[in-house]
Structure formats: structure tokens, C-alpha cells
């Protein structure tokens, strides 16, 4: 925890910093990426789920460290880029780096254990993730990608619901305090 982050942590919050085993921190993102890559090929409708994003949001919120959050996002994003077809390395990396950073920043200030908070934060960061990707794809790569707000909002709600459920499952992987 940095000095900057520590200043915003009260005593009870500092005690709420979650710790995970290293293999959890490695395998869960990897599983999410593999799910994102392979499962939609079998069940296309599951392609609407953004599991790498949800995992990034969860670890960033729970770690409550901006640096840890941005590195988690960068790692997951670059891995996702590397497995994507015709996707330059760094696009998802940048987006998820920013998502991890801001999610950790939010986790420093509010209680993220509540399900409603998690639902709202997941919905917001999904929308933020999609919008930022659209900006980068349009600005940096010159791709003409339409940004469908309604579709994004619906998918954001879907991912938020799935995310809250996923977060409950991942809470069980935390190390006991």
C-alpha cells in the first residue's frame, strides 16, 4: 500500500485489504482469458461476457492498490491481446490498465463489499472499458467502429449481474485475515 493510498484508508478499511495466493492471482485471470477465447466458440452467446474485465475489476477493487490494479489490468489486457486475432498488442492492455487503476482508486475510498456497490461499479467499468476501447480504436488505429450505447448498456448490466455472482465466488479464494 502506498503512502498516497494509505492516507485515504481508515483503520477498518486498512484491515479490509484482501490478499490472495499467488496461484490464485495467476490462474484466475488465465482461466478468465481462456474462457473468453474458447468458450464463445462453443457457446457463442457467452461471448457477451467479459470475464477478463470482471476479474480485473475484482482484483483491483479488492487489492485496493492502484499500482497493483494497473499491473493486473495490464497483464490481463496484454494476455487478452496476445490471444486475439488481428489485435495489436496493447489495445486491451491500455484499456484494462486504466480500468484497474481507477477501480483500485475507487476501492480505496468506498466499501466494495456490498453487492449493490459491486453491481454499479461493474456496470460503470464495463461501460468505461467499452468506451475507452472505442476511443483508442478510433483514435489510434483509425478503425470505424460504431459505438452502440443501448447495446453497451444492456451488456453492461448483464456483465454486472454476472460479475456480482463471480465476485462472491472469488471472495472465497481470499486468504483469511
Amino acid at each position: 500500500m502506498t503512502e498516497y493510498g494509505d492516507r485515504y484508508l481508515v483503520g477498518s478499511q486498512r484491515e479490509q485489504v484482501s490478499r490472495f495466493r499467488a496461484r490464485v492471482m495467476l490462474l484466475v485471470p488465465l482461466a478468465a482469458i481462456l474462457f473468453q477465447v474458447y468458450v464463445p466458440r462453443i457457446i457463442p452467446v457467452l461471448g457477451y461476457l467479459e470475464l477478463p474485465l470482471l476479474v480485473t475489476i475484482y482484483f483491483a477493487l479488492m487489492r485496493r492498490s492502484q499500482i497493483a490494479g494497473l499491473f493486473i489490468g495490464a497483464f490481463i489486457g496484454l494476455a487478452q491481446d496476445s490471444l486475439s486475432i488481428k489485435q495489436p498488442l496493447g489495445m486491451y492492455g491500455i484499456v484494462k490498465t486504466l480500468v484497474g487503476y481507477f477501480a483500485a482508486s475507487v476501492g480505496l475510498r468506498i466499501d466494495v463489499e456490498h453487492s449493490v456497490i459491486r453491481l454499479l461499479l461493474t456496470f460503470f467499468f464495463y461501460f468505461f472499458n467499452e468506451f475507452l476501447y472505442w476511443v483508442l480504436a478510433s483514435g489510434l488505429l483509425g478503425r470505424q467502429i460504431p459505438f452502440e450505447i443501448q447495446r453497451t448498456l444492456v451488456l453492461g448490466l448483464l456483465n454486472a449481474v454476472v460479475g456480482v455472482t463471480l465476485f462472491h465466488f472469488l471472495d472465497k479464494l481470499r486468504e483469511p485475515a
Binding site: 498488442l89 490498465t97 486504466l98 483509425g142
Partner: protein, 411 residues
């Protein structure tokens, strides 16, 4: 510094990670022109900065360069101004030298052409009075100059010697109010008396109102004054005002038109005929014409009479001379001369006779009446500038005038 980094460590790390991934993207992606984005971004990011830096650098260096140049320019300007002044003076001097040389050549040519025995002299001083119309020349009694001798230039009479000193002479110009000379008009031979007025023009007195004098015609010396030999140009009539009993005629002296530097003192005058046409301009030096290009006719030399008609007349004379044909003598029906033969262009050399004929054809009648072949060879004396030849003394002018009037060539 440590405090700064600690305080902004998170955002710094974020920016570094973002930047690294941007570079990663840029290295991979190519634009539609197959140029890597990293290159496009680098150039796009660097170019404005480089442009600003170049502008600042160019402006700064230009400012200092201009300042240094301006610093030197002042000195250069002063030096160039001095050079310009010096060159102007040199140019003026050379122009003066050329003018002097032209006058000298004209003087020598006139001296060789005229039958009078003359002595070249230079004007060395003017009279002391403000309205003085008197000059001093550098030849005096030691050179044979006597009081009363006329002074002329190739353009016309200048004045007369009123005092002869051993080394210099005093000459009264024709514009002096006390000057008088007998003159006669060219066209109608109206006789009058030329008088100075103290101005740039002279007056011809005693011209009866019934006599016809036209503006623009020439007056020549009549020889009646027994000072100036007959036939020397005096001037051009500028104003003719009818009056009674004598009309007022103003003449612009031709001898003073080009200034007064060198003159000829007539030691022994010879009367000559009044020319029927105005005298041509004084001979001046002309260079040889440029060589003719292949297929072109050689340039015709410009002369006193250089009109197309003169050139044609000259050409026909050459053709006639080449074929031994005398124009006007052939009987009707006889073979005419071949006008298509090639004759050498004028000025391209030839026999002395041809050259003389060409010179005769190109000269006005006044000069035709005095061909070099018809007068004894006159050789300028380099010692005193005089020229020997057939001449009469002032005391024998009347006889010479009669002799001149009996010469058919002069009529």
C-alpha cells in the same frame, strides 16, 4: 524530488505503463500507407517541435547574422560610396578626354580639308570682365599670329585676334557687341553685317526688308570685311522679324555651339564658295563596321550623307566604274550596265580611286568642291601645328577670291 516521486508514484507508474503499451501498439500497427504508426507518431510529435526549434534557431542566427552584416554594411556602404564618387570623377574625366579627342580629330580633319593656312591653338583663359566676350589662346606673335586674323573652328567662325602677344593672343568672340563681320545668306545670298549683342545670339544688320531670309538657313562669311575669307559658316538663322527699313535677323553662332576649347587661327585665308546645302556635321571618328555574317550584306558605313538614296547612288557609281560605263553618255538602244554584279561594300577597301569616288559621293558639295586630289598635298606641321598649302595672305584675299570664283569646281 523523492517527495514528488512518492506523492505521484501511482500516476507516474500508470503513465509509464500506458506509454509502454502505446509504443507497443505503434510498433505493430501500420497505417494505410504501410508506414508503422510509431514512425507516424514520432514524426507527428517531433515535427512541430522541430519546426518551432528551427524557427527560433533561424530567427536567432538570422538576427545575429543580420546584425553583423549590418554592422559591416555601414563600412561597406561608406567604402562603396567613396568608390562611386571616385568612379564618377573618372568617368567625367574620361568623357571629357573623349570629347577633347573628338574635337581634336575634327580640328585636324578640318585643317586638312580647308585651303586656308591655319594654326591650331588652345583657349587658355577667358576675359576678366563679367560680360567679357574675349578669350586668350596659347599662340602669339612668335607663332606668326597677327592682330586682325580670323579665328575659326570646323563648325564656324569664332572671332578675330584683337591683340597678339609673343606667347598668346587675345581673341574677340563674335558675340562681343563690338564685333562685326560681313555675312551672306546661303539660299538667296542676302548680304548683311553680323554684329555681336553680348548674348548667345548675334544679329545680322542691314538686311533690307524686301530680301527673303528664312529661319533655319545658314549664314556664311562674305569676305567683304577683308578679315574672314569667304565661305566660312557663321550660324543658323533662328529668328526673322520683319521691320523697316531693315528686318531683324538673329543668328545662333555655329562656331560656339560645342564650347570653345581648341580653335584655328587663319594665318592665310583662302576664299571658298558658299555651299548650296548646309554643311554636314563635323567629321567624327567612327569605328569600322562589324563583319557581315554569312549570307548578309556588310553593314554600310555611316557617313555625313548616309541616306538610302546616297547608298544607291554610291552603288551605281561603283557599278559604273567597274564596267567602265559613264552614266548619261550611252546612246539609246545601247547595252545598259549590269546592275546585278557584285561590288565591294562601301568601306571594305579598294583602290584609291574608288575610295576617293566613294568619299566624293558621300560628301556634300562643299566638300566635293575641295577634293584632296584637286588640291596640293597639305601636311600638318607637327612643330607649330600649321599646314602648308596654296594660300593667300590677308592682303591677297581679293585676288584669291577672284581666283576662287574662276574655279569651275567651286561653282
Amino acid at each position: 524530488m523523492d517527495t514528488f516521486l512518492n506523492r505521484y508514484r501511482n500516476i507516474t507508474v500508470l503513465l509509464l505503463v500506458i506509454f509502454a503499451q502505446l509504443v507497443l501498439i505503434a510498433v505493430q500497427v501500420r497505417n494505410d500507407r504501410d508506414v508503422r504508426m510509431v514512425r507516424v507518431w514520432s514524426v507527428t510529435a517531433i515535427t512541430p517541435l522541430a519546426r518551432v526549434l528551427e524557427t527560433v534557431r533561424g530567427g536567432t542566427s538570422g538576427f545575429f547574422r543580420n546584425y553583423i552584416l549590418m554592422h559591416d554594411a555601414r563600412e561597406d556602404n561608406r567604402r562603396l560610396q567613396a568608390d562611386l564618387d571616385r568612379l564618377k570623377m573618372e568617368n567625367q574625366f574620361l568623357k571629357s578626354e573623349i570629347s577633347t579627342a573628338d574635337r581634336a580629330k575634327a580640328l585636324v580633319a578640318f585643317q586638312q580639308r580647308t585651303q586656308s593656312r591655319t594654326l591650331a591653338a588652345r583657349v587658355i583663359a577667358a576675359g576678366a570682365g563679367a560680360n567679357s566676350r574675349v578669350v586668350f589662346v596659347d599662340r602669339g606673335s612668335a607663332a606668326g599670329v597677327e592682330k586682325g586674323m580670323p579665328v575659326v573652328t570646323p563648325d564656324g567662325i569664332v572671332g578675330k585676334v584683337i591683340a597678339a602677344y609673343p606667347t598668346a593672343s587675345e581673341v574677340m568672340l563674335i558675340t562681343d557687341p563690338e564685333f562685326a563681320a560681313g555675312v551672306v545668306s546661303q539660299k538667296n545670298h542676302v548680304v548683311g553685317t553680323l554684329k555681336g549683342q553680348g548674348q548667345s545670339t548675334c544679329k545680322v544688320d542691314y538686311v533690307p526688308s524686301e530680301e527673303k531670309v528664312e529661319a533655319g538657313e545658314m549664314f556664311f562669311t562674305s569676305g567683304d570685311d577683308r578679315i574672314f575669307p569667304k565661305g566660312f559658316p557663321v550660324g543658323v538663322v533662328r529668328v526673322v522679324r520683319p521691320s523697316s527699313p531693315y528686318q531683324e535677323v538673329l543668328v545662333e553662332p555655329s562656331g560656339l555651339e560645342r564650347g570653345l576649347e581648341a580653335v584655328l587661327i587663319v594665318l592665310e585665308g583662302v576664299h571658298q564658295a558658299i555651299p548650296e546645302v548646309p554643311p554636314a556635321n563635323a567629321p567624327v571618328y567612327l569605328g569600322t563596321p562589324p563583319p557581315a555574317a554569312p549570307g548578309e550584306q556588310a553593314a554600310q558605313p555611316a557617313g555625313p550623307a548616309g541616306t538610302d538614296a546616297d547608298k544607291l547612288l554610291q552603288k551605281y557609281r561603283q557599278i559604273g566604274a567597274a564596267e567602265n560605263h559613264t552614266f548619261g553618255e550611252g546612246a539609246p538602244g545601247s547595252k545598259p550596265p549590269d546592275f546585278n554584279i557584285k561590288v565591294p561594300p562601301p568601306g571594305a577597301g579598294g583602290s584609291d580611286a574608288e575610295t576617293r569616288r566613294r568619299g566624293d559621293a558621300a560628301s556634300p558639295p562643299a566638300q566635293v568642291s575641295q577634293p584632296a586630289a584637286t588640291k596640293p598635298p597639305s601636311i600638318p606641321n607637327p612643330a607649330d601645328g600649321t599646314k602648308t598649302g596654296v594660300a593667300v595672305s590677308p592682303r591677297r584675299r581679293v585676288a584669291a577670291s577672284q581666283t576662287a570664283s574662276q574655279d569651275p569646281q567651286r561653282q
